[in-house]
């Protein structure tokens, strides 16, 4: 079975851990627990008839106090940038991260996740039109778009491999 490492990146409290939990365990909790360092989970899935094992590196969110450890990204075959559109600054953070990560990893498959789709009326920011095909709206709370996002990324990674 093919194993692929993918990273979840974004500002703190955008819902990276909630997304992985929703994806891997099908659960959601309102409780916020900050991730320190990195949390690694595994999910096996079948994409286009190919069985694959995703090793998800849920890296602690970058904020004023903690900078992203680039070494965690090493060897990743793709990554997800997570944005909380109810907080405008998280979009800027995601785009900033994207630039740095691409420098380190090269042109690997990546998606921008507009999380908290269940709170659409509170959104303060929209994704830039230029990258609209790389954007998926998700909700860790309802589960909407989560499977699709991971599947889409896996599909692209397997294709590029």
């Amino acid at each position: 079975m093919i194993s692929k490492k993918i990273c979840l990146l974004g500002a703190s409290a955008v819902g990276k851990t909630s997304l992985t939990r929703r994806f891997v365990e099908g659960e959601f909790s309102d409780r916020y627990l900050t991730t320190i360092g990195v949390k690694i989970v595994k999910k096996e899935l079948t994409v286009d008839g190919v069985e694959a094992r995703l090793i998800l590196w849920d890296v602690s969110g970058e904020d004023d106090y903690a900078e992203l450890r680039m070494s965690y990204l090493r060897g990743a075959s793709g990554y997800l940038l997570v944005v909380d559109p109810t907080r405008k600054e998280t979009m800027a953070k995601a785009l900033d991260l994207d630039g740095r990560v691409r420098e380190a990893l090269g042109d690997v498959p990546r998606l921008l996740l507009m999380n908290k789709a269940d709170l659409r009326e509170d959104w303060r920011v929209e994704a830039p039109d230029a990258i609209s095909e790389r954007v998926v709206e998700t909700s860790a709370k309802t589960g909407a778009g989560v499977e699709e996002a991971f599947n889409k990324l896996a599909q692209e990674m397997l294709k590029s491999a």
């Binding site: 079975m1 093919i2 194993s3 692929k4 490492k5 360092g37 990195v38 690694i40 989970v41 595994k42 694959a52 094992r53 090793i55 590196w57 450890r69 070494s71 965690y72 090493r74 060897g75 990743a76 075959s77 491999a161």
Partner: protein, 500 residues
């Protein structure tokens, strides 16, 4: 002339540029400064061309230069190589010290003789079976699991384990990589400083890194440094055999399944050597000693219990009283009071099994115990019987009256009969006495018969008068036994047992 002028002109015309260049070259060759700057310009390029000859040419030069430099001022070289050597030496010393401490710990642990007791105590404390603790404790070390991890991605390539484990090897592999990254980012100044050992409870994780893959071994116990070499060798082999697969790795661990035997070989373990075998002779000696001790103890115990049984039997015996008992000079002693009618104490001894030397001090006394009293009464009764039966009352021929001087004897006989009755009662005997009259053969039988009866009656009457018990009977003898009367006494055990 003209021709030579022409020739000169032609030469100038043709060769002037060359001439000038030759002059320029000459000038350049003359100019030392110029030549130096030419070499400076060309040299890096020449070295860069990586011609084997260059290296060959430079090697002696560099060696000589280095030697010269060290001779003149070693500090320069020291300064240069210190950043490389320093950490290496530190690492080597640290690992040597750690190895020493580990082996020292193991030695002290092994030479601890009360180990069994410790296990028992631990088992008691933790409620786990002793065998489990013994197993754990007697394990010097065991490589429980080995992970072959792709260095760049942290993805597990292959794993081997002593036994099936529930832990998720993919996640462990990822986490181990993340931890290494974290440590390197957080603590190391240089790339050469890496995390190569983790300790978690009873477990250690030893990490060996190659350029493309990492081998992590989960170890329980104190493994010797040699194990690291084993792991390192395996990693080296894997790099040599799977170099291309490792650099081309894009998520498919299948090609690395073949490394399984190599990983299995890393799963080493060592058990504590069993306690040194005690020579057989010591076992025999110990067994013999224990046997002897046991024999002696059992003997002594038996001896004592037999002695006690003997004393108890003596106490039980009618007419015997144990006054005191003890030991003197290894002999058992007892002081007894014994009625002459009682059984001989040494008879009892023969029945009993007392083997030890015994000294009995027997003193006679008269017992009033009922058995002895009865025995004595019986004895006396028997004596009286003899005395009474010895009496003969003589009669004159044809007479049924006896001479008056025989009254003294009859009085005594009467007293004896009364006493006999008392004694019989005491000794639970049934008694009976009859006065038997007899005649000589002279005269006819009819007359004689009557005479016999009359004589007996007369004696009985006199006896009763003198105080003999009235149960006394009288009768005629069946045959002629002389002109006399005698008294027959019968004593027989009373089956009813009733005394009075």
């Amino acid at each position: 002339m003209t021709s030579s002028d022409d020739l000169e002109r032609l030469r100038k015309l043709l060769l002037t540029p060359e001439q000038e260049r030759i002059e320029a070259i000459d000038q350049r060759l003359e100019d030392r400064e110029r030549r130096v700057s030419d070499v400076v310009e060309a040299l890096p390029e020449a070295v860069d061309r990586d011609d084997p000859r260059t290296a060959r040419a430079f090697t002696p030069l560099i060696e000589r230069g280095l030697r010269e430099s060290v001779r003149k001022n070693p500090q320069v070289v020291v300064d240069v190589i210190y950043p490389i050597l320093g950490p290496m030496i530190r690492k080597a010393v640290a690992s040597a010290v750690r190895g020493m401490v580990e082996s020292f710990n193991r030695v002290t642990e092994q030479s601890f003789t009360a180990r069994g007791l410790k296990w028992r105590w631990q088992a008691f404390r933790t409620g786990r079976p002793v065998a489990e603790i013994a197993m754990e404790e007697s394990l010097v070390y065991r490589v429980e699991q080995v992970f072959l991890i792709h260095r760049e991605t942290g993805i597990l390539l292959e794993a081997a384990a002593q036994e099936e484990t529930a832990r998720d090897e993919d996640l462990m592999s990822g986490m181990l990589t993340a931890i290494q990254d974290f440590v390197r980012d957080s603590f190391s100044v240089e790339r050469t400083q890496e995390l190569d050992r983790l300790e978690v409870g009873d477990f250690q994780v030893w990490i060996e890194r190659g350029p493309r893959a990492v081998l992590a071994a989960v170890i329980r116990g104190a493994a010797p440094r040699r194990v690291r070499a084993v792991i390192n060798d395996a990693l080296g082999d894997i790099h040599a055999d799977y170099g291309e697969e490792l650099s081309a790795f894009s998520g498919d661990p299948e090609p690395f399944e073949a490394t399984q035997p190599r990983l299995q070989a890393c799963l080493e373990q060592e058990l504590l050597p069993r306690a040194q075998k005690t020579p057989l002779i010591v076992w025999f000696g110990a067994a013999a000693l224990i046997g002897l001790l046991g024999y002696w103890a059992v003997n002594r115990w038996q001896d004592r219990s037999e002695w006690r049984a003997y004393l108890a039997a003596l106490e039980e015996e009618p007419g015997i009283v144990v006054v005191e008992s003890g030991r003197r000079d290894g002999r058992r002693t007892a002081t007894l009071l014994a009625d002459p009618l009682a059984r001989d104490p040494s008879d009892l001894l023969r029945i009993s099994e007392v083997a030890a030397d015994i000294e009995l001090d027997v003193r006679h006394y008269l017992s009033l115990e009922s058995e002895i009293a009865a025995m004595r009464a019986r004895q006396e009764a028997e004596a009286l019987k003899g005395k009474i039966e010895a009496i003969r009352i003589d009669f004159a021929s044809g007479e049924s009256e006896f001479a008056g001087e025989q009254d003294a004897v009859l009085a005594a006989a009467a007293t004896w009969l009364a006493t006999l009755k008392d004694q019989a009662a005491q000794s639970r005997l049934r008694w009976s006495a009859r006065v038997v009259g007899s005649t000589d053969e002279v005269g006819d039988e009819q007359t004689n018969q009557t005479l016999r009866q009359e004589r007996a009656d007369a004696v009985r009457a006199r006896l009763v008068r003198f105080g003999a018990p009235p149960e006394l009977t009288s009768e005629a003898a069946a045959t002629d036994q002389g002109r006399q009367v005698r008294i027959e006494v019968a004593l027989e055990p009373d089956p009813a047992g009733g005394g009075e």
